[in-house]
Amino acid sequence: MASLDRVKVLVLGDSGVGKSSLVHLLCQNQVLGNPSWTVGCSVDVRVQDYKEGTPDEKTYYIELWDVGGSVGSSSSVKSTRAVFYNSVNGIILVHDLTNKKSSQNLYRWSLEALNKDSSPTGVIVSNGDYDREQFAENPVPLLLIGTKFDQIPENKRSEVLNRTAFLSEDFNAEEINLVCARVVLFSLKFSLST
């Protein structure tokens, strides 16, 4: 096997939003039949052909680190979780479109993960308040995914889309809306820093 570079991506979000289902879908191409609570961190691997079909084609292993828990966990749980946040190449933030609080908690999740980043520009002094400036300098790409869109009644859908548009602005992200046939994935908002 040729040497394949390591790509580590964190998957963060509140309990029950569908992170494990998402990771399973991305890596195994099947829907997760019996989701259960994630204790600690569960990793899965996706083989991705970068620039497929071009002469630069390269096969990467994308490691998806699905970190369980809630933002309100005790400090001992948080300091243990911090172990997983080292040398991260990207972060996927997952929120449940039927639960507003999970979207709000994404700010705290991203702060938690980015504070532990060892890069010098990543030194952030935070007291929990959100500051858009922090994300302007952020070297780590963020991807925002909203789940369970199909469970929102028809009349509320435009309101939800509005809300998520604001959310992606806050993260300095561009918005791409994808509707997928299966239940889990709905809209992908992309954030790429310079």
Binding site: G16, T80, D96
Partner: protein, 437 residues
């Protein structure tokens, strides 16, 4: 003459308690979730409000403040019983059924079925216990109170027993194991190593699968007898290999979960050690010694009561203190736990923090809280001097109060002794587990 303002003050305080319950619900219990079913919040706040009012009425009773209390007592009691026996169990059943996908369609029907099952067992509860005298009719209030009382007293005794033992154990720093930073770092390194091993094995699986898939594609293009045999044998070997690696991965994942929980435990212990060096920590440590003496005394008294067939006569103040202490003991414990309990309580904690089950958990909490309060009133009645007993007896009917006290003592003893055993085993097991490298 001053009846009216007092009546109003009771109603006002009920509204106040309702408000507290509402706020507590929003700020603490449902901090991370969106409240979609407001009925849960209402039910919780109502239960909270009426439970607190019962306590308030007892205090008024002792102070001799109110004379139309009889009305309030009756009202309060009826409402609480209505809520605890009809409303809350029904909603618990309803929300549990809603979570099960199969039964979703006929939610209401199944919820009613669950409720009827609950009522059946609830009624059956009266048989083995000598709680009623034959004078009472089937639908009298004594029937309901007696059963609620049994459940509530059992619950109280269990929690008291555990709290009485656990409180000094957590407060006293004597029991804190020595944890150094290097211990924690070593465990974290092991955890990350395990994760890396999981990753590399999963990469192998993914690559092997991909190769098999590609080979499968090629196979479809190849013909010839010999090629077919070759492909069959190689895929068989491939899939056997895969299942072997998958088993290894499963074992490693289990290990990583264990390591994670152990690390959390060590971090928590380290924080407690740091806390114990502060002024507050030293104060709680002192309290711990005090509580351990108190706990030993309580166990001793409970044994004496049972052996000598006595009924304990404590004054309501002591009872009140007891209940608060045990409640605090449990509160404190929820955040600082040990080894085996860590695994159980963390999984319980993770279980709680799911948006699906949060409704159910809150309702169960309301149920326990309500039953707890009703039974405390029951037990307090015995502790009150004769003058005050009259109205409570009038209201609660003629129940066999002695039985409840005896039952409390028995369950308390059992619970305390099992907690001691449990904590002893957990404490002993802990140092060996994470020292083994």
């Amino acid at each position: 003459l001053w009846l009216l303002p007092l009546n109003i003050s009771i109603i006002l305080s009920q509204v106040l308690f309702f408000g507290f319950g509402w706020l507590f619900f929003m700020r603490q219990l449902f901090k991370d979730y969106e409240v979609r079913q407001y009925v849960v919040q209402v039910v919780f706040s109502v239960t909270f409000a009426f439970s607190c009012t019962m306590f308030e009425l007892i205090i008024f009773e002792i102070l001799g403040a109110l004379s139309s209390r009889y009305f309030h007592w009756k009202l309060n009691l009826y409402v609480i019983l209505l809520v605890l026996i009809f409303v809350v169990p029904f909603y618990i059943g309803y929300f549990v059924v809603s979570n099960i996908r199969l039964l979703q369609r006929q939610r209401l029907l199944f919820a009613c079925m669950v409720w009827f099952t609950f009522m059946y067992f609830f009624w059956k509860l009266g048989d083995p216990f000598p709680i009623l005298s034959p004078k009472h009719g089937i639908l009298s209030i004594e029937q309901l109170i007696s059963r609620v009382g049994v459940i509530g007293v059992t619950l109280m005794a269990l929690l008291s027993g555990f709290g009485a033992v656990n409180c000094p154990y957590t407060y006293m720093s004597y029991f804190l194991r020595n944890v150094t930073d290097s211990d924690i770092l070593a465990l974290e390194r092991r955890l990350l190593q395990t994760m890396d091993m999981i990753v590399s094995k999963k990469k192998r699986i993914a690559m092997t699968r991909r190769q098999m898939y590609q080979r499968g594609e090629d196979q479809n293009k190849q013909t010839g007898f010999w090629n077919m045999i070759k492909s069959v044998t190689s895929t068989q070997a491939g899939s056997e290999n895969l299942s072997l690696i998958q088993q290894e991965v499963d074992a490693l994942e289990e290990l990583s979960r264990q390591l994670f929980l152990e690390t959390v435990d060590l971090q928590a212990t380290k924080e407690r050690i740091e806390y114990s060096k502060t002024f507050q920590g030293k104060y709680f440590n002192f309290l711990g010694y005090f509580f351990s003496i108190y706990c030993v005394w309580k166990i001793f008294m409970a044994t004496i009561n049972i052996v000598f067939d006595r009924v304990g006569k404590t004054d309501p103040v002591t009872r009140g203190i007891e209940i608060t202490v045990n409640y605090l003991g449990i509160q404190f414990d929820v955040r600082n736990t040990h080894m085996q309990p860590v695994i159980i309580s963390l999984s319980f904690f993770y279980a709680i923090s799911s948006s699906k089950s949060s409704n159910v958990i809150v309702l169960v909490l309301a149920q326990i809280m309500g039953m707890y309060f009703v039974s405390s009133v029951l037990l307090m009645r015995m502790s009150m001097p004769l003058e005050y007993r009259s109205i409570v007896s009038e209201v609660l009917g003629e129940l066999q109060f002695n039985f409840y006290h005896r039952w409390f003592d028995v369950i308390f003893l059992v619970s305390a002794l099992s907690s001691i055993l449990f904590l002893y085993l957990a404490h002993k097991q802990a140092p060996e587990k994470h020292m083994a490298l």
